[in-house]
Structures are given as C-alpha cells and as structure tokens.
Amino acid sequence: MTTAQTILDRSEQPGAPIWLRYASPQAFYPLAGRLIPWFAAGAAILCVFGLYLAFFVAPTDFQQGEAYRVIFIHVPAAWMSMFLYVVMAFWAGLGLVLNTRLSGMMASAIAPTGAMFTFVALWSGALWGKPTWGTWWVWDARLTSELILLFLYFGFIALKGAIPDVRRSDRAGAILALVGVVNIPIIYFSVQWWNTLHQGASVSLTRAPAMAKTMLLGMLVMALAAWMYSFAVCFARARSIILERERDAAWVESMRGKT
C-alpha cells in the first residue's frame, strides 16, 4: 500500500507555476549551487572596495577621530541583522501557510547568519563605545534592542534545535519568528522610551554622522557586500540542510551514487 516516493508538497505537484517550482528542494539545490560562487565573488569585491572607502577615502571625523571608522562595519551589520530577521520570519511564515518544506529550511539557514551579524553589530558597537565614551557598553536604544534581537535569534535556534520532529520544528519556529517580528518594533520603541527617561545614556550611535557623502557610500557598499555574503552563506547552508533532510529522496541517493 505504501510507495517509496516522497510525498509531494505544493512545489512539486505537476502543474506548479515556475516561481513555485523552484521552491522544491530538488530544483533549488542545483540553482543555489550555481548562484553561490557569483554571490561570494560579488561579496568579496564589494567588501574590498567598501573597506578601501572606509579606511582611505572617507574623511577623518573631527569629533571622534579615526575610531569612528568602525561604523562601516557596525551599521551594515546592524542593518543586516534586522533585515535577515524579517526575511527569516517571512520564509518561516510562508512555510506555515503554504506547507512547503523548503521555506522552513531557508528560515533555519538564515538564522545563524542573522545571529552572527547581530553579534558583530554588538561587538563593533562596543569597540566604538570604548574610545568614544570610555565604556565598553552603553544602554543606547539601538544597542539594547540589538542585544534583545540576539536573544530572539538564540531563542529561534534553540527551539528548532530542541524539537526532533522536523515538521513540528519548522512550524513551531515559524510561530515564534512571527511573534518575534511583531515584537521588534515594540521592543525598540520601549527601549527608546526607557532610554530617554534615563538621562545618563544620552548617547546615540547614529548621531555621529552628519554624513559626508563618502561615509554614506562606504556604508552602503559594505551593506551590499554583507547582503551578498548572506546570500552565499545562507544558500550554502540551505543546500546542506536539504541534503540532510531529503537524504532518503531518490535524487539525493542518485547523487551519492555518482560521487
């Protein structure tokens, strides 16, 4: 009565539209494999260019001296950390609604990179804080929200890791990610309010630039580099997740046979 074929999800049914077809793990795997080298190369080039802008082209800030240059890492990392969380929540939510397997895998693939960028944003924020204000940590609204964002990422990764059944893990993670995404503006707003009430922490990490054009360009280039890097790394991670989860599928078995 039972057959050996994989149960088809929506992306694999015959007659699925083109955009949905690439949402099948089997179609996505080789596509991602072809794209990764391009994203990696793009990331490397942009990163070199961005760092050149950051260290050689952008002018010295008259208030903060050379130390401010860490914002070229800090700000793009912070942007990516928030952007990736939203993307992760989007994929997770999509998987919840459409019941496609790849969506959950993408969310799992994105989480560690998002957490990494959050960590980099925090650490670079501390590096900026020390020479500028004399302390390693300030309860600035943005830094504090970044810290909480890191906790949200950890929670997502921990929950997914604690649930052995893959389907339950994907769906539970999706619910958590969606609740978290709703909470991010609330958290930021709350911390901002709390921050303005506690006059001690009247520093702002974004108050620094009345931005010279080169500074802005440098940050945008680094942000683009980070974005490409994320694509490359998340796709690579997704491919390895696909291999692990679909290991019983015919196409994976035949690949294994070839090597």
Binding site: M1, T2, T3, I7, L8, P164, D165, R167, D248
Partner: protein
C-alpha cells in the same frame, strides 16, 4: 458523511501509509486493523483532527475538517489511548467536564445513569488518582453513554484494560449507536464483535 481521500501519514522519517481513502455513512462501522506501529493510531488521530496528514484530505459532510474545527467537535467524539482523566477531580467531576466539553447532556441525573451503566457509580465522589487503570478507562468511556446524539465516534483501543463486563457494556453502547444510525471508527487488538452496523475493514502495514 465522513470521507478520506488520498490520505498519507508520516511519523518522524517513516512513511506509514499513503493513498488511503474511504467513505463512511450512517450506521457504518470502520475497523482499522494492522500490526503494531502500522499507523492505526495516527490514522484515527488524523480523522479526529489532532494530527495533520502529510497529504490528502478528510471531509465531514463535504467540508474539510481543518476548516470546521469546533463545528466538527460538536459532532464527533474521540477517545484515544490516554484516558483524559484528571487526578485531582472526582470521577463525577471528570465526567461533567468531559460532557460539557462535547456539549453533551451533563445533568446530574444523566451523569449518574452513565456512571451506573459503566459500573463506577459507587466511586463517583472519589478523586481519580485513587482509581485503578480499568476504573479510569471506565470513567473515560462513561461519556459514550451520554453521546448518543453525536453522529461520529472515533475510538482507539476502547477495550484496553477493561474486564469482561465492561467490554460487554462498551460493545452494547457501540451497537446501539450504530443501530441508531451513528458512525463508528474503531481499532482494537481484541476481537470484539460489535454485532450491529455495516462493518468495513481497512488494513494498514505491509
């Protein structure tokens, strides 16, 4: 009235069954058979709406059950492996809560009759923690005596841990239900002849 179409079930990494379909009408009994681990409980849980199927659809009166939710609950009774009896509540309180959860007649008189039918009326005021396994099962099954008007009963191993009298009592309740036009989906390791209704079999596992 209950239809299953191309049902497939995955538990963990294992595919238990796929392409399963049937239609169940008034007065019909569906017996699900198969060795341990073949997916009988999973199938019943899918039919009850507790477990999500990997593929296919279950329909009640033509509508998919995941769209019906509590509307389905108003017409269906599911008793699974766990007796669903709270230790801290008395036998009578457990029955009352269970009956109210299914919108059944939970009046004192009806409950008394149900408990007497299942032979545990003398324990009505006892907290369930002091009951034996068999008595807990009878407390859980007492709902059946109140659930005549619910069209669909889904029972997973109802005769487990019951003595001969209790088995006969449950059998009689099931038979009366079928004779009155109700539907029953049943798994049981014990061969108990219900003795009413049109019986159909589904066999799982290779």
């Amino acid at each position: 009235m209950l239809e299953a179409e191309a049902l497939a079930c995955e538990r963990g990494d294992a595919r238990l069954f796929s392409g399963l379909g049937f239609a169940l009408g008034a007065g019909e009994l569906l017996r699900v058979r198969g060795p341990n681990g073949s997916g009988k409980t999973s199938l019943l849980r899918i039919l009850a709406g507790l477990t999500r199927q990997a593929a296919g659809a279950v329909r009640w009166r033509g509508a998919p059950i995941d769209a019906l939710r509590d509307a389905y609950g108003r017409e269906m009774l599911f008793i699974g492996h766990a007796p669903a009896v709270k230790d801290e509540l008395t036998v009578d309180e457990n029955l009352e809560i269970a009956a109210r959860l299914s919108h059944l007649d939970a009046s004192v008189h009806a409950r008394r009759q149900a408990l007497e039918r299942l032979g545990i009326a003398r324990r009505a005021g006892l907290p369930a923690r002091y009951l034996s396994q068999g008595q807990r099962r009878r407390t859980a099954l007492a709902r059946l005596a109140l659930a005549a008007r619910l069209p669909l009963w889904i029972l997973d191993e109802p005769f487990t841990a019951l003595d001969a009298d209790a088995v006969e009592c449950v059998r009689a309740l099931a038979a009366a239900h079928l004779a009155a036009g109700g539907m029953l989906v049943l798994t049981s390791h014990q061969e108990v002849e219900i003795g009413a209704g049109v019986a159909r079999d589904i066999r799982l596992g290779n």
